[in-house]
Each structure stands twice: as C-alpha cells, then as structure tokens.
C-alpha cells in the first residue's frame, strides 16, 4: 500500500446494524420512552411559521392525562356527543377487524389487515377533516371509511371479492377505493400515495378549491423515495396537504430503527423540509383530533403542509400472513406505555360522567351485531373461493377506457378456452 498519507493506528471500522430492544422471550420494558405530561406541549397559532415550533417535532403532544381528563392547550373541547361518536367509531372499527380477521381464518377470504391499537389514528383524523377532503390512505386506515359512514357490507364485498365488489375482484382484500367518500384507491406499493396526495392538493389549490388532502404511511415507508419527493413538492408549493406518519413501531418484522428511528423522530423529517411537524400520542384520540384540525386549518389558510407523527403501537400482526410472536416480545402490546386508544377514550368519557361500563358493554354487543348483520348481507354475494363471482370477460375491463384489439383478442381466446375446457361457464 503506497498511499500518500500514513495509515493511522485505528481499530477497524464496524457496521452498525440496528437491533430492537426485545425479542421473543424477553420481557418488554419501555421505561426509556419519554412520555411527557399531557397538556404540556404548547399550541402555536396555525399561522405561525413552521420553524418557530421545531420543539413540537421532538416531544409528544398529549391531551388525555393520567386521571383521564382532557387538559392543556391542545384539548379540542369536543362535546359529549362528539366524544361518544368517536368512541363508537373506534369500537366499530375494532369489531369490524375482529370479524374480518376471523373470516380470513375461516377461509372466506385470502387476506386481512387489522389496525388494532391504531384506531384513533384514522377515526379521530376522519372526524377532524371535512367529509369532502380527499384521503390518500395506506392499508391500515379502514377507520376512515367507517367514520365516514361507508357501508360495511360494501367493504366486506371488496374483502370477499364477491359479486357485489365494486372493484370487480381486481384488488387484494382491504385495498378499498371509494371516490365519493374521499377515499383514494389503496396501493400495495408503499408511499406512492404521498406524492399523489400532494398532486391532488396542488390541483385543488391551483383551481381555487377549498378542499385539502391528507395521506397516511407507516414509519417504515418514510424510507421510500416517494416520501421525500412528496415532502419536497409539498414544501416548495405549500400544498394544502397533511402527511400522517403512523409510527406503529413495526414494519412487518423490521422495527422502526431500520427507518431511522434511532437517530431522530419521524416528525423531525419535517424540519429539513421547512414544513410544520408535530409528534403526537397516537393512542390519544383527542390529540389526533386536535393535531389534525390544527393541520387542516393551516392547510385551508394557505400555510402549507403539516407532517404529523402518530406515536402508536401495532398491537397485532402486520397482516393475516404474519406471526409477530416470531420476532417480538409477547408483552410489548400490554406493556406499551401509551395504553389502548379505545380504553383511554372510554375512561375519559366515564371520568366526565358521560359514559359507563354497562353502556359500553351494551354498545360492544350492538356493534358486534351490526358487523355480523353486514357480514351476513355481504356473504349473500358470495365469498372468495366459492366459484367465480365476476363474469370472466370482466378480467379485461378497465385496463384502458376502450379495449384495444390485442386485449379483445386475448379476451376471445380466454372465453374460447373456457368453453373448450367444459368447465362450468356459469359457476359465478
């Protein structure tokens, strides 16, 4: 070796590969997570410059305190009816998840994804947005559709890919698309919805509309290039968009450290782009509501985008194809220091004398029955695997607005094959 510089007498370099704190068999201990008191974080004016509240990207905005009271400047001061509706939608989302998870285990569909522990992230946000604001969700925000009163039977039709499925069985279960409820078609490719939400928001601004866009991704997906392209665009054009990063700690089996969580917070991503950043307690429905309303007001008054990190915990597996017991400690969910969003909101309503355990139990029974009835209705349209639900020729619909010759030829070939095979053409 004949370099110009003398070789210093240093130890060899080593590569840092992040490792989560607990693996299966370990006792989970989250005492190192700093949970600031509820009500402590300041609430800037929505017209304040983004660089005047960088501290909010490094703390946790919290409203519900240890005595189940709503405190501090972020308290959205919802009335009891609004609080009860919020609780009901979160509980309904959980009941829906439980039923559909079971349906997958019973072989009625191929796949399902629960949002257990994260219900506040979508339900409270949906309540804080206007009904015609456009949501560009990821795959764990079913709570938006439920809160916007979209039919659960329709959701199940999609999950079952049955003959009632408005997407004609062309999408993976749970990849809903409901345009007139402001719910953009879900993609399985991660974070692609981020620049799309910015584009929608920019279009709304360019046309002098009043509607804004909101989008969601997991903390793992913030590593995608699309996330950073979206932040750049949103910052440059001050797009009226809300970026939600759902930090549920796990991207399938990769903990948040693989997306950079050891170095900084996800809300701090906003700092480098000069956009507003908030880090909030994602299991505190009132904090989610307050942060979303605040960000929506910024967007609607041309103050530009806001990035909200929802600090939460994925209490269940990534999907029905995942087994979290293989890679993480079994007690993580129960040890999670920010509790369960439904239990916390319920405790708050009880603490202010607007709810009780008996009513809650009765509501759970009622909601389970509602979900069961919706499922019964959906199953009249069939379940996945029980024959063909869509006419075979629909396979070629919608590739283009009008079918070109090569697709017409392939369609005719497929239909001829079906006829020649002697398979029951009418098994739909």
């Amino acid at each position: 070796m004949t370099g110009d510089l003398p070789r210093p007498n240093l130890p060899p370099l080593s590569l840092h590969v992040p490792e989560p704190k607990f693996r299966p068999g370990d006792a989970a201990d989250f005492s190192d997570i700093v949970v600031p008191p509820a009500g402590e974080a300041r609430r800037p004016d929505t017209a304040a410059a983004a660089d005047s509240f960088h501290d909010l990207a490094y703390t946790l905005v919290r409203v519900l305190d240890d005595d189940n009271q709503a405190v501090g400047p972020w308290n959205p001061r919802l009335n009891p009816d609004q609080l009860r509706r919020m609780l009901r939608m979160m509980a309904l989302t959980r009941a829906f998840d439980e039923r559909m998870f079971r349906a997958q285990r019973q072989g009625k569909t191929s796949f399902y994804m629960k949002c257990t522990g994260e219900e506040a992230v979508s339900v409270a946000a949906a309540m804080a947005l206007a009904r015609d604001d456009m949501c560009f969700p990821s795959y764990r925000q079913q709570g938006i559709l439920i809160t916007r009163d979209w039919s659960m039977t329709e959701m199940m039709n999609q999950i079952y890919s049955n003959k009632g499925d408005r997407l004609q069985g062309k999408q993976l279960p749970i990849m809903y698309s409901v345009k007139d409820h402001g719910f953009f078609s879900i993609s399985g490719n991660l974070a692609t919805q981020y620049p799309q939400a910015v584009g929608w928001a920019m279009a709304s601004a360019a046309k002098g509309d009043t509607r804004i866009a909101a989008t969601w991704c997991g903390e793992g997906s913030t590593a995608e290039g699309d996330f950073h392209s979206a932040c750049t665009f949103a910052s440059v054009y001050r797009a009226p968009v809300i970026f939600n990063v759902v930090n549920n700690q796990w991207a399938i089996s990769s903990f948040s450290g693989f997306a950079g969580a050891e170095a900084t917070t996800f809300a701090a991503r906003a700092v480098g782009y000069g956009i507003a950043g908030l880090r909030i307690d994602g299991n505190d429905a009132l904090a989610v509501y307050a942060a979303t309303s605040w960000a929506a007001e910024r967007a609607r008054t041309n103050q530009g985008p806001t990035l909200i990190e929802h600090f939460t915990y994925r209490a269940e597996g990534h999907s029905t194809s995942d087994d979290p017991s293989q890679y993480r400690s079994a007690d993580e969910a129960s040890e999670w220091p920010l509790g369960d969003p439904i239990a916390r909101l319920k405790a708050h309503l009880i603490a202010i004398g607007e709810w009780d355990d008996a009513r809650h139990a009765a509501q759970d029974v009622e909601l389970a029955e509602m979900v069961r009835a919706a499922q019964k209705e959906a199953e009249k349209n069939g379940i996945l695997g029980h024959g063909l639900h869509q006419p075979l020729d629909t396979l070629f619909d919608g590739v283009f607005e009008e079918m070109p010759w090569h697709l017409r030829e392939q369609q005719a070939q497929m239909l001829a094959e079906e006829t020649a095979s002697g398979r029951p053409w009418d098994r739909k």
Partner: protein, 334 residues
C-alpha cells in the same frame, strides 16, 4: 414548423381549449424547457398552469397522478427519457393500473412528454430509447411521432385521451429530419412536406400507423428518427420498399402492418433501442404469427446493440444507412 414548435403548438392549443390542462417539469416554466418545447406557455397561461418542478422524477409523475385523480389533465415533462427510471414505479404500478384497480373510479389521464433517442452525442444518460419498457406494461399507451405534423396531432390526441400516455419525442429530428449520415447536415423541416403544420386544432387518432412511403418489394416497420433514415436508405438503394411509420406502439396498428407485409412478403424492423427483448422482438413475433404463409424471407431486425449507449462511438451504435442497407440486400436476396 419544426417538431419542437409543433409540440409547443399542441400544448398551446390544448391549454386554450381546456382549463384543466397543465404543464409541469424541470425548467419548463420561465425558461421554456431545455429544448424550448414549452417556450412562452407560462407567459401566456400563468404559473398556476405552467410551472417548474423539483428534480425528482418520481415526484413529478406521482404529483401528476394525483392531479389527474383530482380532474386535471397534466402534461408532465421528463427532461430526458434516460431520467424516467426513478419515476417507473409511479408509471408502472400507479398510473398504468389506477383505472383497473379502482373499478374505474379513479383515472390518470396524464401525458408524459420526454425527448428520447440518440445521435446528438448525448452519451449514456441523454440518448436511450426505453419505449420497450413501457409497451410491456398493461395500461400505458406509448406514442412516438416522426414528423412535426404527426407530433402535434398525436400530442393533442394524447392529452385528450383518458388513459396515461408516454409520449416520446425523437430529439435527433426536433429541428429537421436527417438521413442517418453523420457527415451530412440535417435537412430543415421547412423544406420538408411534414414541416407544414396548421396553427389550429387537429388530431391524429392514437393507434393508427401511417404509410411513410408506399412500396411493393418489402415492408419496413419503423418509428421516430428511424423512419427518416429508412427513407434515405430506400431512396439510395432503389428498392421499392413500403415504410410503415408505426406512430403508436401501444395500441399498435396491427391491421396496417399485416396488410403491408402480406402485400410485400418481406419484413424489416428498425429501431434504435437495444435489440434483446426490444419492441422489435414483439413486432417480429406478431408478423410471424400473422403473416407466416406470406413471408418469402426471414424477418430481419436492425437495432441498437446490446450495450449501454456509447458517447464517442454512437454513430457506430446507431442503426445507420450501412447496416440498414445490408439488411435490405439480405432480405431481397432470398
């Protein structure tokens, strides 16, 4: 008009007709584009409709998809087709499939303009022909004009079309057609019949090929710059070849191709893109499937080589008159 002016005119006409048409891309606003294709548009239509973007192709296309979902008709520019790869996921997984995956609820009527092809000493990063990647994707249309007249009419049709379209502009003939000899100056479009371009609205239906030169001895399938190289070679060689200018690769005008090959009995396919698994392979297979009993000689392909695009040796890489002439002789011998 030259091709750049024709493309500019197409965007101007469409922006006048439809307030939802917007133009975006790196340097397209105040400056009017590095090739001047968007010159004057921002001054005329304002910054809300014509604006510069950050250098993130994935962002440009992703944002355009979102704008399309809102109801606009974005015409994003990717400055060179070589830079389209960072946007591939948004084009392939998002724009191309949005209609299909959403049961028709959401569409993405975007027209992605991008200069492509070599012959200007652009090196590896300013010369490639990636059209084959997009024709392989279900849900995208791919259009490549070869004359100013076609460029305007096809671009207007693409902007009006409700499906996502990749519109590749052969930059070697932006200013004038050329015959493929690097030591001969380009002809000027003003002396070329295809340089006659009306200033107003007209369109050329997507999916329809043109007969660039009628003939009886042989069919040449080509598009973009190669149409002009082939025309020069055929004129020099004295072969009565029919040159089919495909204009749209997807959807492809199979009827015109089939009729021509059945008439001539011979087929040469010419493109600049690399050979293996290029669009010529698809053309060759289609001609073989549909015209086999009419063929009097094997189908030949003249293409770019399977190497990265070279800088100093590009005129050896590029299908030129010598390589095309040899292929013509070979086919005619059989």
């Amino acid at each position: 008009m030259n091709m750049i002016q024709a493309i500019n005119s197409a965007m101007e006409v469409m922006m006048e007709r439809d307030p939802d048409v917007i133009v975006m891309g790196e340097d397209v606003g105040y400056f009017g584009g590095v090739f001047r294709a968007t010159a004057g548009l921002q001054a005329k239509f304002g910054k809300q409709r014509v604006f510069d973007t950050p250098i993130t192709e994935c962002g440009i296309i992703g944002v355009a998809v979102g704008m399309g979902a809102y109801g606009l008709r974005p015409v994003p520019e990717i400055q060179f087709a070589d830079y389209i790869y960072p946007a591939l996921d948004q084009l392939v997984s998002e724009a191309a499939r949005l209609r299909y995956r959403s049961g028709g609820e959401f569409t993405s009527p975007i027209t992605v303009r991008s200069p492509f092809g070599g012959g200007i000493f652009g090196g590896q990063t300013h010369s490639q022909s990636p059209e084959g990647i997009f024709t392989h994707v279900s849900g995208l249309k791919t259009v490549i004009p070869s004359t100013p007249y076609d460029a305007k009419g096809l671009l207007i049709a693409a902007i009006e079309d409700n499906d996502p379209t990749i519109f590749f502009e052969p930059k070697r003939i932006y200013n004038g057609p050329f015959d493929g000899h690097w030591d001969r100056p380009s002809q000027n479009w003003s002396k070329h019949p295809a340089g006659e371009v009306p200033t107003g609205y007209y369109k050329i239906e997507l999916g329809k090929a043109a007969i660039a030169r009628p003939g009886n001895d042989l069919t040449i399938l080509a598009y973009g710059t190669m149409v002009h190289v082939c025309q020069a070679v055929v004129a020099d060689a004295g072969i009565d070849a029919e040159i089919v200018d495909l204009r749209t690769l997807l959807p492809l005008d199979i009827d015109t191709i089939e009729a021509s090959v059945k008439k001539t009995g011979r087929c040469l396919i010419v493109h600049e893109a690399t050979r293996t698994a290029g669009f010529g392979a698809e053309l060759s297979a289609l001609v073989q499937e549909r015209c086999f009993y009419h063929l009097e000689a094997p189908i030949e392909r003249v293409t770019g080589f399977d190497t990265p695009y070279p800088h100093s040796l590009e005129w050896a890489y590029f299908p030129g008159p010598v390589r095309i002439g040899q292929a013509l002789k070979k086919i005619m011998k059989d």
